[in-house]
């Protein structure tokens, strides 16, 4: 059995497994629904997620331990993940294959030549990891200053290095020392002048380009809703995701670029591949030539996935172990062996020092620059409502990898990918939109918190969500608070009875209560023409027959005390019939003025009880800009935003 066959089987296995995980991510207990399917497994295997969160949170969270397995296998075997496991890689491979069909051998080899752009992914990796490590670096500097011993040591070391650089070392070593000095010295100086923690933050942005979250996002939020729109097996209503067009466009663009260059994304952009490239330098087995001389037919490069040029000096960090060269070489000269390639290998990624420093500096500067917008501080956006269990904003942004799992699993489809509402850092992070979807945040649902791979939405129990038992004195988790827009609400602004929000408020006792108010209808002061004990004929406005028979309309005699109103049970054009249980005891003289009033139950919110679940907003009949809207004030994840004590 050829190893290439096994590789293909492995690729198909993991691709199908991935699609299966995407399909079953519907909340439910059937075999084709969530159950115990480990749908986050690919994300947990992804070492970039693990390393990123280790840098931002200084912990390795639970399931992310799987990444250790991937890391160990990569260290020992090389970049196997890219061409054996990665579902995104498999998709690129397939499209690339289609793109290569019909091309000549020399053209195929040409397109697989090593390209300088392949070093871009390393710079991206440095940038992303530095942005994640910002706070850690600041802490280190501060720690250095806090302990006098370390400070003196640093000073001593600096002096030594300076001395060596000036007098001892020569050439490359001197240059290296000088640059190291510049970096360390500059950083230390910065640390002296600025209180670093104020300036720097940690922001986890690896999710933007990390292929595993990217492919999860693209399949779950774009592909599946499109495919399912006809048969609606995965969801009984059409799923909507804001901004899906961008996610889809990026996905399709990445795939289509394979027609130009096979594995375009893998070679030029993928920071995970870059990480593997760095980790694989000590691999025990590597692809290489068994002997140096060969006819240079370039058959091996025609199908080389990694563009590592195995014919001559192989760029080891680019080799993705596709094994095509082993298969294609007519003279059986390629092997996967413990000795280096006979025609030489380049182990290190092709990163220039300058590029490295630029990427590093950009990563360090990017986060505080973005945070100048104040989105995590005073300028927080009240329209950004995070799912129940979400950490406070700065902590949340240091864990969210924008994988979209919470959006996929939410049974009511209200978790949406954010655009720029939560700042640039918040792109594609989950935010709740109660106008979309089938209802508000269901009272008894904690699905999103249990599907988040990094605990940006930490796993909660129903007790915690409802504020019961052990959590009784903390109270329920509040996502925000509902606010009645009195200028739009039907009973407040339009004299129209409506208590949909109060009826649908799911908490008990309800957070929405109503206050009764009687309002005279437009032109509602009319004169009596004729009357008997139960009916009145009026002059003035006329009504549609039955218009006033809904039980909300009342007649008030101006002469009678304030509380006394007679319910109107029916009406014709200009005749009104009152409830026979409250007849007019005397006939009303001609010309008596009566008021026709409508009973309005005006909703009000009790902020102590409102949990911001958004069911009221979803059900409000004013369906454009809703007359009752939830915003993030009083959310329990952030004490600074509380409205009440």
């Amino acid at each position: 059995m050829r190893i290439v066959t096994v590789r293909r089987i492995s690729q198909i296995f993991f691709l199908l497994l991935f699609f299966w995980f995407c399909i079953v991510s519907t909340f439910g207990e059937q075999w084709w629904q969530l159950r115990g399917w480990p749908v986050d497994w690919f994300l947990q295997l992804d070492p970039l997620v693990a390393v990123g969160t280790m840098l931002t949170t200084k912990t390795l969270y639970a399931g992310l331990l799987w990444a250790l397995a991937t890391v160990i296998l990569t260290i020992v075997l090389g970049r196997f993940f890219c061409s054996w496991v990665c579902p995104f890689g498999t998709l690129h491979h397939m499209v690339g294959y289609l793109g290569k069909r019909g091309k000549t051998l020399s053209r195929k080899a040409e397109v697989n030549e090593y390209h300088w752009g392949q070093s871009i992914k390393y710079y991206l990796l440095v940038f992303l990891l530095t942005a994640a490590a910002g706070a850690l670096m600041a802490r280190t500097v501060r720690a250095a200053f806090a302990v006098p011993a370390i400070l003196w040591f640093l000073v001593a070391a600096t002096i030594v290095v300076v001395a060596l650089a000036l007098f001892g070392l020569t050439g490359r070593l001197r240059k290296t020392a000088a640059i190291l000095l510049a970096l360390v010295g500059g950083w230390t100086l910065l640390g002296l002048l600025y209180s670093m923690e104020q300036l720097i933050g940690a922001s986890l942005q690896t999710g933007l380009l990390d292929p595993i979250p990217l492919v999860y996002r693209s399949v779950n939020l774009v592909l599946l809703p499109l495919v399912d729109s006809e048969y609606q097996v995965l969801s009984i209503t059409q799923r909507h995701y804001e901004g899906a067009w961008l996610i889809g466009a990026i996905f399709i663009a990445a795939l289509l670029l394979n027609l130009r260059t096979p594995r375009f994304y893998c070679r030029y952009i993928c920071p995970l591949g870059a990480l593997y490239g760095v980790l694989s330098r000590f691999s025990l087995w590597r692809v290489g030539k068994k002997q140096s001389e060969c006819v240079q037919c370039k058959l091996c490069e025609a199908n080389c996935e990694g563009a590592c040029e195995p014919t001559n000096t192989i760029h080891l960090s680019e080799c993705v172990l596709c094994m095509n060269c082993l298969d294609d070489c007519g003279h059986d000269l390629m092997g996967y062996q413990t000795i280096p390639s006979a025609s030489g290998e380049i182990v290190s990624p092709d990163m220039s020092r300058r590029g490295f420093v630029v990427a590093l500096a950009s990563g360090v500067l990017a986060v505080p620059m973005i945070r100048l917008g104040g989105y995590t501080d005073q300028n927080w956006n009240p329209a950004v409502i995070r799912p129940p269990g979400a950490l406070s904003e700065a902590d949340f942004l240091s864990r969210c990898i924008k994988c979209g799992q919470c959006m996929r699993v939410c049974p009511t489809n209200i978790i949406q990918p954010a655009g720029l509402e939560a700042g640039l850092e918040g792109l594609w992070t989950p935010t709740l939109n109660f106008r979309v979807g089938t209802s508000g945040c269901q009272l008894n649902c904690i699905a999103c918190s249990h599907v988040c791979p990094t605990a940006a939405i930490r796993p909660i129990t129903l007790e915690e969500k409802h504020g019961r038992e052990a959590f009784a004195d903390v109270g329920p988790i509040k996502l925000g608070c509902a606010f009645v827009d009195r200028g739009r609400c039907l009973p407040w602004a339009m004299d129209k009875p409506c208590i949909v929000c109060q009826e649908t408020c799911p908490v008990s006792p309800k957070a929405i209560f109503v206050r009764e108010y009687f309002s005279t209808v437009r032109n509602g002061v009319v004169e009596v023409v004729r009357s008997d004990s139960e009916t009145l004929e009026i002059a003035g406005i006329s009504f549609q027959p039955g218009q006033l028979s809904t039980g909300d309309f009342f007649i008030k005699l101006l002469t009678e005390p304030e509380g006394k109103r007679r319910p109107i049970v029916d009406n014709a054009d200009r005749t009104l019939a009152v409830d026979p249980r409250m007849p007019f005891l005397k006939e009303l003289p001609l010309g008596t003025r009566v008021e026709i009033q409508v009973r309005l139950q005006r909703p009000q919110i009790d902020p102590k009880l409102c949990i911001g679940c958004g069911v009221c907003e979803h059900e409000c009949p004013v369906s454009g800009k809703r007359a009752i809207r939830v915003s993030a004030e009083n959310e329990s994840r952030s004490k600074r935003r509380s409205m009440l004590l």
């Binding site: 059995m1 439910g28 699905a447 007790e463 038992e469 008990s508 249980r581």
Partner: protein, 355 residues
Amino acid sequence: MFKSVVKWILILKEYRRLQAEPMANRSRKMETLAGIAILATLVVIAAGILVKQSRYDSKLFTASLSPSDSSIASTQKSAKPSELQTLVPDDLIPLTPLETFGPENLSDKIDGKAELYLSAGFRSLKSQRFKKSEQADSWLEILLFDMGSTRNAFAVFSTQRRADAEPVQLTLHAYRTGNALFFVHGQDYVEIIAASGDLTDEMLAIGKNFVNRNPVSSEKLSEQALFPRENLNPGSISLLASDAFGFSRMNNVFTAKYTIDGQEMRAFLSLRHSDKDAQELAEAYHRFLLENGGSDLDPGTNLPGIKLVEIFDLYELIFSHGKALGGVHEAESKDTALKLGLALYQELQKVDQKQ
């Protein structure tokens, strides 16, 4: 698990054998071996995933109205059993905690039906669900309504009597349907409703426990005995607490269904505070009927105070006798109305004679 271990052992054996083979063959064989090893790993992964999917915390998936089972179990052990729990047999355990409702939030539990209870003097509701400890889907709910008086309890009991009611020997006023038990005891109205049909025995046991533990001297609903027994539809005696027949002053009215000559009609009876009150109410109701489109007819009897009204093609008979206001409601013919009315009148007379 065992299978994969065996696989690995076989692969290792094969590997050792290959060490001895010549070079060219060896690399081919190594390739195959490696391939098999990898495929074996894929199988192990698939197996692992299949195992994982069956092991999940079902608490997370039930759209539960209740806290998780485990926390219930712990509160069970530590907390006192609720008042309702003391009634249930041992093989039933609480599914939800005890809930209490008062007049202001009764609608949270029973929504629109609250109106019925509130107008009948509702005081409080205690409810709790229990399930069979082995079967999660075999559960029932006990609703204990404190109505303040037997009369009130009877009012809500009787007006909600289901069509498929089967009488049951439990209290004076009790019946069951396929999956539920309803009864009045003292001032309480109790409903026990099961999710499935197999809990009848348990429900009856609960009912018996309740009755035994709460000895009461029931307020006798004397009006019931006053209805003539002939042609009476069994179990049809009802108490309308207020707004009987659409007239707001008609409250505390007992009604009973009769079938005479193939026609259905109701007799009604209400004991008022005094003779004068009864007479006044009779007159008021009479007027009410006339105002709403009724017309007087000759009752066809000389007995004093009996009025017959035809309204919308049906016949109403009204009279007062002593403290009692009585009559017939919605009879289809004059004669049957009169017949029933007179029968009722006679019963009332009998009572007078006894006293």
